[in-house]
Symmetry: C2
Subunit: 600 residues, 2 copies
Amino acid sequence: MRTIALPRQNIKFTYDTDIKDSLLNILIAQQIFIESPCGGRSSCGKCKIKHLGGDLPPLSVDEEKRLTQKEIEEGIRLACLIYPNTDLEIDIIDQEENHPVLTGGYVPEYQRNPAIWKKPIEITKPTLTDQTPYEVLFEKALDISHLPWDVLRQISMGEGTYTGVFNQDQLIGLEKGDTSELLYGVAVDIGTTTVVTSLINLKTGEEIDSEAAINAQKNFGQDVLTRITYVLDHGKKGRNQLQTAIVDSLNEMIQTMCERQKLSSSLIYEVAIAANCTMMHMVLGVDPLSIGKSPYAPIFVEEKDISAKEIGLTALSSFGRVYCLPAVSSYIGADIVAGAYVAKLHDRKDKVLFIDIGTNGEIVLSNGGKLVSCSCAAGPALEGMNISSGMRAADGAIEEVHFHTEKGFILKVIGDKTPVGLCGSGILAAIRELLKHNFITVRGNIVKPEDLEGGDPRLSYIDLDGKKRRICIGEGPTKILITQGDVRQVQLAKSAILSGFVALVNAMDLTFADLDEVIVAGQFGAHLPVESLVGTGILPKAVKDRITYIGNSSKTGAYLALMSLESRQEMATLAKAFDYLELSVTKGYERLFVECSQFN
Amino acid sequence: MRTIALPRQNIKFTYDTDIKDSLLNILIAQQIFIESPCGGRSSCGKCKIKHLGGDLPPLSVDEEKRLTQKEIEEGIRLACLIYPNTDLEIDIIDQEENHPVLTGGYVPEYQRNPAIWKKPIEITKPTLTDQTPYEVLFEKALDISHLPWDVLRQISMGEGTYTGVFNQDQLIGLEKGDTSELLYGVAVDIGTTTVVTSLINLKTGEEIDSEAAINAQKNFGQDVLTRITYVLDHGKKGRNQLQTAIVDSLNEMIQTMCERQKLSSSLIYEVAIAANCTMMHMVLGVDPLSIGKSPYAPIFVEEKDISAKEIGLTALSSFGRVYCLPAVSSYIGADIVAGAYVAKLHDRKDKVLFIDIGTNGEIVLSNGGKLVSCSCAAGPALEGMNISSGMRAADGAIEEVHFHTEKGFILKVIGDKTPVGLCGSGILAAIRELLKHNFITVRGNIVKPEDLEGGDPRLSYIDLDGKKRRICIGEGPTKILITQGDVRQVQLAKSAILSGFVALVNAMDLTFADLDEVIVAGQFGAHLPVESLVGTGILPKAVKDRITYIGNSSKTGAYLALMSLESRQEMATLAKAFDYLELSVTKGYERLFVECSQFN
């Protein structure tokens, strides 16, 4: 294990020198995103870093070609061409001046024009000969035709300086004094499993703080269907419980960031939310039942711009707003629209497949800008749930596994602790190694010890529980076992995703070879190395060298909705441009699903 | 005392044959309004009634001229030309088919086009191949571009019949089934002393029920300034108390009407409110302090269209609205704009003075459609408050007084009960008689008994309390006395109103003789006969034969706002057309006030 430090960003992390990978991929695995439009294929020359310390291999021919003499003298290198194996100290080169860096996601260029803005005004006192009502004084000073009721009821007589707070062309609030420089928002990604929030300075676009937490709705079910069933069983009370769970979490997360930053939450005026369709219905308290029942028509998909306090979101200004990004359908949510937008799928002239791997897998195929999408119920296995030794990605979770014929299973454990269980990336890595070393057959069966020759190194890892075969990959407080059931869980998830992938490619009359890029999105997806994705057959081997990562593009989309009305408009347009392929009514889909369950 | 019956309207009342008056005026005194554009001067021929029973004087020449032969044969007569003195049975002839009759006020013609309307729709279930979100299904069926958030959160999956409820072009609610024939509203006049509500069928314009009550804010002060001072002393809590007092009253009054009519209050979708500026601020919970303090600029005067539940008005549909009529200034409120509109002041080619007599007196002078207004603090004396024997107009209240040299004081008591005190019209009638019979000098002093000759019939009514002279006009459980203080209260009120009247006439360079009509508005004003208004000098003698009554034109304005968007628009335009004369800064006003205090 070696260390990479980024002193300017105050980041330091370790990496595994056993796994030979490019510096670009090592950084992405840490959710540190550098612009790399070519996807790390050394053709764009954009993934520049500055070498500050430690040993690096000499400059390659490609680097010499793509860097200027001045850059070479300054120690600039291309991250996709460096395969480090020592302690390193580097700096990231921002391509654009003030180009924002968002934790956990690549941010494309955008036109800075937030929906929320402020205007300071002066009010002078009426006189006996000019008894103009205050309503009119404020309307004139703010240059609006109509002072909204919510604002009117707040005002009292009195001259002086005020600041009007606007949401687009609508006045939403009035503050005493000149507060025009103080303007904050929060970008939110609500995943079925994880919730991520970023506190944003709307004047500069800067991310000031971020916070992640497990979705408190998990107590009502691990996946969206279980939660919808909870609402079905518990009626309006159940719907309120689920709304309160997520809204309370958001209030707490925002409050935590504000306290850490010594910022009054009353200076936050907007929360932009990207989420899947069910989470969006639930956070707004809208009936989610129709999402869970054929024909799966949701109540809404269009963007929403509403008062935050109407949904109980109170950890911001009393007149704060909630903006919800637009979705396409029940199973192609605003998170995917955001991702497709961040990946600029609509602008691409080539053939690109975008895939968000989570409890639900959503896939979008762009054929020169024409978009078709599908959704597949992967289940929570890929996130370490429903797995006998599964756990979330916390200290003690195995996140990477290698099998050496002699050394046995080599584990990478989060926090370098005694292993306790497997998180999502760990279970995938384990299955990959078990497949590679034939612990598991292409049909997903764990090999029988009686079928192995004596002295086979695998024999010592097969653990029998009566007739049930299990593979022991390590030992912490207890044995860490992969059961036949675990393999089946991963197999179902892989089959769901791969069959969706194939169905989309077929629907556009393309082949794997036609795809120019496969973009893996999602905070979780960013933790799944190409080897695991391809090695377990989640993604076809044919696209192995065209896989790139974009990080939590859902949160990035929420960030863009906060920062740019133009981006909002473009996302709304993009959402309407999606075609949706309902796999359950696609001809031959069932046979395809069975075919895709094979590990080959 | 004789009886007049209107069998079709199920109305029966008694009238005093001692007071010779036209049938038109007798009906107006009972708040039964007939169209009489000429103000009872027998020139328009519109105040037609049908004679059903009892003796009437023979047809006059004027009646023969203005009625057709057919009408004469049918027993049609003109109410302004009949001076009845027997029991009568009559019917009112509606000038327009379906011309609405509103208790307590004349209703002009209007264009029926309520802001609130309904549209029934059918929703068919989505399918697996057409998963159109319910939001879009409803938008298409309702022909709107955007389903509002308030409605969206109420909908669930399911096909069937729904009814959209609209406020102008905005969808405000959705009901299951076809409810399009059920559509109600409430017209409200909030006076400083009295609150009146009418339940209106918005489909027909019919008044279904009405309810009046004392403004519960009276516990916080009898006039607006005292109530504003209460808010000043008690801050936001005080403001909430005053809002709650009036809003709770409205909820109770609406509930009472609904229970009496067996109507679900959820079928009421709009409450239209006319009120003075302070009452309007208070019912909406807006800060009223600036109204009470120089330079008297209010927070708002423009019309308001807001959600009823936002102000705690809950005795109607959960998505019901409140519409507040526009005002001109702190002391020319929406009640006066409504009155000026109902009186069609803006359309008049002649010179008309409109006066609303209440705790505050507001006067509007229309010079061929050009409007100038003023406001005078009459105080509550004219409504029987701050008067030693004062009481509200209830059973036992003296409402009319006559003095006969031989018979002494003849009292008309509400409910024909033993007299308990004097209501507003009674105190004015008493002062009128005392002036007429020289109990009081032009300066307002009660005559000294020592200045009267022995045997003067007045002597026996002068009651001495030490040196204080009082006049005993009757006796119930206790003596009913008019004190010098009572005379001064009326004198101040008279002076306030008359000086405003004169100042306005002067401001437009007119004389009393130029005025074609003086319209007395207000539910209270309708109870003050011409003799009392002129006999006490509240209105100048010069206009005596040009005084007409219009009833509670404030409530009628609220009714028109419910029933007609065109009327709303016209009232908003009218409010902006008012000039306002601030008496306190008018040159020579103080001297004028003193001059007007003389009873001459």
